[in-house]
Amino acid sequence: MEFSSARGRRRAARAGGRGRYPHSLQFYLAPPAESVSLAEFESFAVDRLRLLKVVENLGVKYLKGTDDYKSKLEYELRKLKFPFKALAEDDYDARRKDHISHFILRLAYCQSEDLRRWFIQQEMDLFRYRFNELSDSLVQQFLEYVNLLYEPISEEVKERLKDELLMSTPGLSAEKVKEQAFYKIPLQDAQDLIRVRRVLLNYGFALVPHQDMVVIILNNYRTKLSKALALTARSLPAVQSDERLQPLLNHLSHSYIGPDYSAQKNTGKISLEQIDTLSVKSYPICMRQLHKALRENHHLRHGGRMQYGLFLKGIGLTLEQALEFWKSEFIRGKIDADKFDKGYAYSIRHNYGKEGKRTDYTPFSCMKIILSNPPSQGDYHGCPFRHSDPELLKQKLQSYKISSTGISQILELVKGMHYQLACQKYFELTHDVDDIGFPLNHPNQYFVESQKLLNGDSPVYQFLPALSGIHGLKKGHLKEGKYHTLEMKTALCPLPQLPSSCL
């Protein structure tokens, strides 16, 4: 055990680092204020990215919080030399690395909503794991440290509300209600509990039992992190003008999800006549159902038009083709050509960055489709694995001629909430391969990979290197600069400090 040796070193570290990093865990409120060599900058960044990638993969493979998950994650933390044991006191280097690397990745991952979403998700999972490893007394210390102490409700109030308190948290028993403290938490701090309706709301406050306080802490962390990322994004131009950093930061952010499937490369390589055939052969099931609904109803509601429209853009439809495609379908229904031009053409041009704020929108990833904007009455968008009744999903799969063993495998994955794995299974079954060998996380990726398989070695589509995760990321992407060290303060904190009221 490396930390049980060298008492002297420990003491030295305590003197030097304890003040700066009193806890193994932190909210990353203050950016590092020291100079870092470029080499260290790069290696820290790459290691943290590797760590977050591991967090993501473990989260898909294992149930979060299970022993397998925890031991695998601890192994990785240890291997990459990040703090992994809450009590170790001589891990100054690890804590420093944790601190600095977090701030570097903020720079790389603040640039778009998708990147932010991914970064926050992984950092949250990492934080949750580490927080859960803390002992009760360390939790208490940590809460004081980050200034998150809430007021408990009085016994009278608790007595008056005891039935409702009992009914609002699954797994709570009457005795537990009695023995636990309940805290009065402002709504914005309890969002994660409110969203899933796992807490009692009473005249503008969430009454949270002690056992759920971890959710509150995480919620608080998420809020801070997402605010900080927004602020970082605003000051990014200043950082990007540093030619030593810019290539590295870009490379870092591209290596998490690979390509974003905004069209460019393959625009115009597809004809409208091909679409019906392609929809059967190479569409993921979410797009197939949208296409079918469009052909049947000659209409799609807004969510569907967005999801399908951007997908089509991603597989290579030009703006002119897209306008023709949607128009020819819509005018067969209740919409006449004039109304189409007025009401719908705008949003198609908008998707292609020709209207409004002129953003060239990228096709939705699986994560986005699964997590945001669930379909409601009359909608056909969303992820069929996530948003359909299992019974209907089964029927649909049967109509797509999936074998019954295949169907039950898929349904099993759906039941475990592994929607992307379910889709992957669907891909494997429909393309008759055993293991596609890469994680599936984008409908356009599905399409590209399918085309590759079906057309053999001469793909219609040339694509950016497939998703190789971080394997494509090698050290040495920094341009040689004049200086070998960076002033961390200027690189990482050209932004005003958050006012203490938001902290």
Binding site: L166, S168, I194, N202, K357, N373, Q377, G382, S388
Partner: protein, 456 residues
């Protein structure tokens, strides 16, 4: 609908914005006390400049206190107009409510939408670096549209409504209004009939307007029970324990379920319609009920049978290890629970049709609903712009007759606001009460704050 013709709008709208639209209370509402000091400025469209901080020389006003919102709060608010031929103009903004009033009278928009309060004046958004122009505040709004209930109402579809399905809207209002007050602790809610097939709610508390969009979306998730699109048969799934929000909402639904769903919609009236309901009941019970239903007389009896059977199975499930079924509750919720258009509530910069805007298709005015007297509200009795203008003409004719009788004093007390002489009056009254409540609360808050300062 009282002889409304969309083609008449260009003629009617000038009259409406000049003489009927309640500019005074409207400006006081969206001003949120920003341009005034203390309780002053209540004269509505007065000439008071917003720069005058203290009520000097105005003995009636209360001592100067910091305004509730920044002075240019109103000026940073986005308005959007829909003009003739569906021309849509976004990012309109106005220094003072009086400027909005003038603009409305000048351009006579077919429809007015209200957006967020931005970091800068929306009219100048093009002059700003992208990213600098951010939505900062917005009322929490809800939009409930009858089309979203098409799979559970047999009487009408899409844009149509009738007095039967209107009950769905009243249930939605009751359920949400309770939760807004008792769960979320908000005070100032303005419920508005949209003019055709739905209702809107504007939650206007100072704290709520500052809510982030992520908090809004958590709240929407908390308030939504009916989930899934065309591909989901069973859209409500309850599990143990049933959260107090659900049980309290259920109580409100239950009170009206028999009259609305069983008698009104007759959801168990025929085999075809009860099959839709039974699809939501778990397997063994479903078969039993399929045998029982033909022998029962009507929906009410069939419902009683269903309910008894499910309750019985739930009791026995606690002893066996099966999951309890809440089918009867789930059915009630799927048929009656409010279906929100979540995206409208989640985003700060989403636009929503303004109260007192005219619905361009029906001509009906988007009027506030008095929640205390919800049962008396009749969407079909809501005045249209044509009916109002006619009433106004008739009132004028009567005036002229009277004027002729007492010639000596022409135009004696014409200062009676014109809308008060039409059937719009009671709705404006509801609106004014809402604005006054807010002003009273604001004064109370200011007093409290100045008291706190006085403690030193």
């Amino acid at each position: 609908m009282a002889g409304f013709e969309p083609s008449a709008l260009p003629e009617l709208l000038p009259l409406y914005y000049r003489r009927l639209f309640p500019h005074g209370p409207y400006g006081r509402w969206l001003g949120y006390g920003g341009g005034e000091c203390g309780a002053a400025g209540r004269a509505g469209a007065g000439e008071r400049g917003p720069g005058r901080e203290s009520g000097a020389g105005d003995p009636g006003t209360e001592p100067a206190a910091p305004p509730a919102v920044e002075k240019n709060y109103f000026a940073r608010r986005e308005f959007s107009f829909t003009l003739r031929d569906d021309i849509y103009v976004r990012y309109q903004s106005f220094e003072h409510p009086q400027d909005l009033e003038k603009e409305l009278q000048k351009t006579c928009p077919y429809k007015v939408d209200i957006g967020a309060v931005y970091s800068h004046r929306p009219s100048q958004h093009n002059a700003l670096r992208s990213g600098a122009f951010q939505a900062q505040e917005k009322e929490l709004v809800f939009d409930i549209d009858m089309t979203d209930y098409d799979d559970v109402r047999g009487c009408c579809s899409s844009a149509e409504i009738c007095s039967k399905c209107w009950t769905l809207m009243t249930i939605a209002i009751r359920v949400l209004d309770r939760a807004l007050v008792e769960d979320l602790g908000v005070q100032h809610r303005l419920w508005v009939y949209s003019g055709r097939r739905g209702v809107h709610c504007w939650v206007c508390d100072d704290t709520v307007r500052k809510w982030s969009s992520s908090l809004r979306s958590s709240i929407v998730d908390y308030l939504s029970l009916v989930k899934g699109g065309a591909d989901t048969v069973k859209k409500v799934n309850l599990s143990d324990p049933v959260h107090p929000f659900i049980s309290k909402s259920l109580r409100l639904v239950e009170e009206r379920f028999e009259e609305y769903a069983l008698l009104g919609q007759d959801i168990l009236g025929s085999r075809e319609s009860w099959d839709k309901v039974l699809a939501l009941v778990p397997e063994p019970l479903r078969e039993q009920l399929q045998q029982d239903f033909p022998r029962k007389r009507d929906s009410v009896q069939r419902w009683a049978r269903l309910k008894a059977l499910v309750e019985k199975s739930r009791q026995s499930s606690s002893s066996s290890k099966k999951l309890p079924s809440y089918a009867e509750k789930e059915i009630m919720l799927q048929f009656c629970f409010p279906r929100l258009d979540g995206n409208v509530s989640k985003g700060l910069n989403h636009l929503l049709k303004s109260p007192f805007s005219v619905h361009p298709k029906t001509g009906r005015i988007s009027v506030p609903i008095d929640v205390q007297r919800l049962d008396q509200f009749d969407p079909f009795a809501v005045p249209t712009i044509s009916s109002l203008c006619r009433e106004l003409d008739e009132a004028n004719d009567a005036d002229e007759d009277r004027d002729k009788e007492n010639e000596e004093d022409p135009e004696p007390k014409r200062r009676v606001r014109d809308y008060k002489r039409t059937s719009l009056a009671p709705y404006v009254r509801v609106f004014e009460r809402f604005v006054e409540d807010m002003e009273r609360a604001r004064r109370g808050e200011l007093l409290r704050r100045s008291d706190l300062q006085g403690d030193f």
